[in-house]
């Protein structure tokens, strides 16, 4: 019973953290209005390493809904972009983690996730926002950003997992 409560509290903590990162990220000014870097994936990735896929999905979907409620963007194109980006990133990371955790470290998993995140956003933007092939001119830029955010997210998740384990040892 206490184990269940502990687990619940930890999950709530992770969800709260992810929501805060998601919300704060909305304030970062970027040129491509509704695109996101996906820093909130740090928590999704960490949860994947700490508690597995089910909890990671809970945290990711939960933070997208809560975060978009907090920023007032619920139901807007921005919400759709983060929803598609978040779920695709999570699925990719889960697959790489499941079948490649022997050869990839967090950084590799995160790189794959960040790339999926940005590509999913771009494809969603094509279908939802701008029905023009011209949007794919952003593809190289998005892929380059994905390498940067992937590296950062991977390192951040590594620190996070390490410290989380120290405090919960």
């Amino acid at each position: 019973m206490t184990g269940g409560v502990r687990e619940l509290a930890r999950l709530a903590l992770l969800l709260a953290l992810a929501t805060v990162i998601h919300t704060v990220e909305a304030f970062i000014p970027v040129t491509f209005v509704w695109f996101r870097f996906g820093f909130a994936n740090i928590i999704g990735l960490s949860t994947l390493y700490l508690f597995g896929f089910r909890d990671a999905a809970f945290v990711t979907i939960g933070r997208i809904f809560l975060g978009s409620l907090a920023t007032g963007l619920f139901g807007s194109p921005a919400f759709l972009l983060s929803l598609s980006g978040g779920t695709c990133a999570l699925l990719t990371m889960a697959l790489v983690f499941r079948y490649g955790s022997g050869i990839f470290s967090e950084i590799g998993v995160s790189l794959a996730g960040a790339t999926a995140h940005n590509l999913a956003q771009l494809v969603t933007a094509y279908f939802v926002l701008i029905r023009s092939e011209g949007i794919f001119l952003l593809l190289p830029v998005m892929m380059l950003t994905a390498v940067g955010t992937g590296l950062l997210n991977g390192l951040a998740a590594r620190f996070f997992v390490k410290h989380f384990r120290i405090f919960n040892a």
Binding site: G100, I103, F104, S105, I107, G108, L137, V147, K162, H163
Partner: protein, 163 residues
């Protein structure tokens, strides 16, 4: 062992036995702490291969995507009202006057670029839309019902497909 753990709190100093600092934890995380780590970031070879692959892909897409997406058409289409008024080449400089409900809109083709030179519309949005060339795009003067565009040539010989 907890004493040693303080040393690599930041994760940068990774000893060979750092996976023993946290009993009962799984070893996925410590893959990078074995001999196969190759850099300060503690990336595994697979990580590096993935990253280099992604970098190469994005570098390649810098050159490939514009080739696929841009139109490379040399033909300007000018619409007035709902019909095609004129079709002209980007390569020869010329001025085209289009008569609309408000008056005459002048379109300029110069040096392979097309722009709206003047228009009788109240805000002049079309004049400030700038110019474009064979990369494709459109200029519109909504009040005067003029549309200028360079559109993508379709490989299958069709003009457009709607869904």
């Amino acid at each position: 062992m907890r004493k040693d753990a303080r040393g690599d709190r930041l994760g940068l100093v990774a000893g060979p036995n750092s996976d023993r600092d946290f009993p009962g934890t799984d070893l996925h995380f410590y893959v990078s702490n074995k001999e196969i780590m190759i850099s300060r970031l503690h990336m595994t070879p697979a990580d590096t291969v993935l990253m280099v692959l992604l970098l190469i892909l994005s570098a390649a897409s810098f050159f490939l995507v514009p080739r696929l997406v841009l139109s490379h058409s040399q033909e300007v289409e000018i619409h007035g009202g709902n019909q095609l008024v004129d079709r002209c080449s980007l390569t020869e400089d010329r001025l085209v006057d289009v008569r609309g409900p408000l008056g005459v809109t002048t379109i300029q083709v110069k040096g392979g670029r097309v722009s709206v030179l003047s228009s009788p519309c109240p805000h002049g949005v079309c004049v400030h839309m700038g110019d474009f060339g064979s990369e494709g795009g459109f200029l519109a003067c909504v009040p005067n019902e003029v549309l200028v565009r360079v559109s993508k040539e379709r490989a299958d010989g069709l003009d457009a497909v709607t869904k």
